[in-house]
Amino acid sequence: MDNKSIKKLYNLINIESKKLKNKINLMEVCGTHTMAISRFGIRSQLPPKVNLISGPGCPVCVTPVSEIDKILEISEKENVIITTFGDMMRVPGTFSSLEEKKAKGKDIRVVYSPIDALEIAKKNPDKKVVFLGVGFETTAPSVALTLKQAKKQKIKNFFILSFFKIIIPPMIALCMDKKLKLNGFICPGHVSAITGAKIYKILTRKYKIPCVVIGFEETDILTGIYMLLKQINNNKPEVEIQYKRVVTYQGNLIAQKILKEVFKKIDSIWRGIGEIKKSGLALSKKYSQFDAEKIFSFDISYSKEKKGCRCGDVLKGIIKPVQCPLYKKKCTPEKPVGACMVSSEGTCAAYYKYGEK
């Protein structure tokens, strides 16, 4: 984008920030936003009163070690092929990672889409093919539709280990967290394409926190921040959509319907945050024949989070990565300690890559 518009936008933000009474905290929930904000160097160019903190919107980072251990255990079983998005390969479990298992000869394959995983299942009828389902509402429908197809085609050797999560419950939990003083949410762009902006209504109504669904270009983010500041100054919290070229208020109704059909909400553990009621997606009864949790048995009582890693506090926005004693010392992208440093869009990795303070 042209520099002139960007300067103008910073200028508008500056003017609006002068009207603020106190320092404010805006949280970008989504990891892609964290990455983009770091890449454009937005944090350092905002007026001092406007503070951006990063939230729990990177699926890799919020998946607890115990769940990683489950898939690692499955990879040890006979006649199994594990299929996964590349994101999960390096995430450390208690003792190992999928990448290490693969190096030791386990059949672990990276796919671009769950459709490809189903194809692998069809081609290997004598093997159990397990797909590792991670992500939020954007990714879950793709798995739901793949399962629908598997059902239609009567495929019996395809299974899902569902770690899917939904984004609203942790946002509500963060609103209630006394340690955090949130004044606005930069709402995720692509999740909202599926869910619609309507899901944020509860945040503006009940918790009085302004919400703007924002795109990923530099001008999108700056415009969105400006919209949030205006809402704060006018003291009229509402749900606005800046990313109109993709997101509507209602969202993708087909996707919402299929999610309801294939999944059910369950209580789920978020790394560092703990258990949040009804924040995860497990396969519904109708689809339980595909549920890897029901097919395989595991004992993961040994699961343990890495010592000293403060991912949890980073994910909640309580500390910035630089405040973690391991950051840049024991923990680097070459040798990550926590998931926030492993994931390409983890907050610690973003800060490291772009040298943020």
Binding site: Y112, G135, S142, H190, T223, I254
Partner: protein, 75 residues
């Protein structure tokens, strides 16, 4: 949290379509955007079209910037 890449629909075959990602071609599912037609654009995530979009992203950005700058000049 989710990469979303724009692509153009080239050919439709039932629930699937061949999409062109600026020179890269791949089969995607269009079950979430069943109304989409050949030559239209969509945002793709993990091999699924998740929403129809307009062709010219840049134009759209220009439009909203114009709007916001006008708004602030008047006000």
């Amino acid at each position: 949290m989710c990469l979303g890449i724009p692509a153009k629909i080239e050919k439709i075959e039932g629930d699937f379509a061949i999409a062109d990602f600026n020179g890269i071609k791949r089969q995607i599912s269009i079950q979430l955007t069943p109304d989409i037609k050949v030559n239209e654009y969509c945002l793709v995530h993990a091999g699924f079209a998740i929403e129809k979009i307009t062709k010219d992203y840049a134009e759209e950005i220009k439009r909203y910037l114009k709007e916001i700058f006008k708004e602030t000049e008047n006000g």
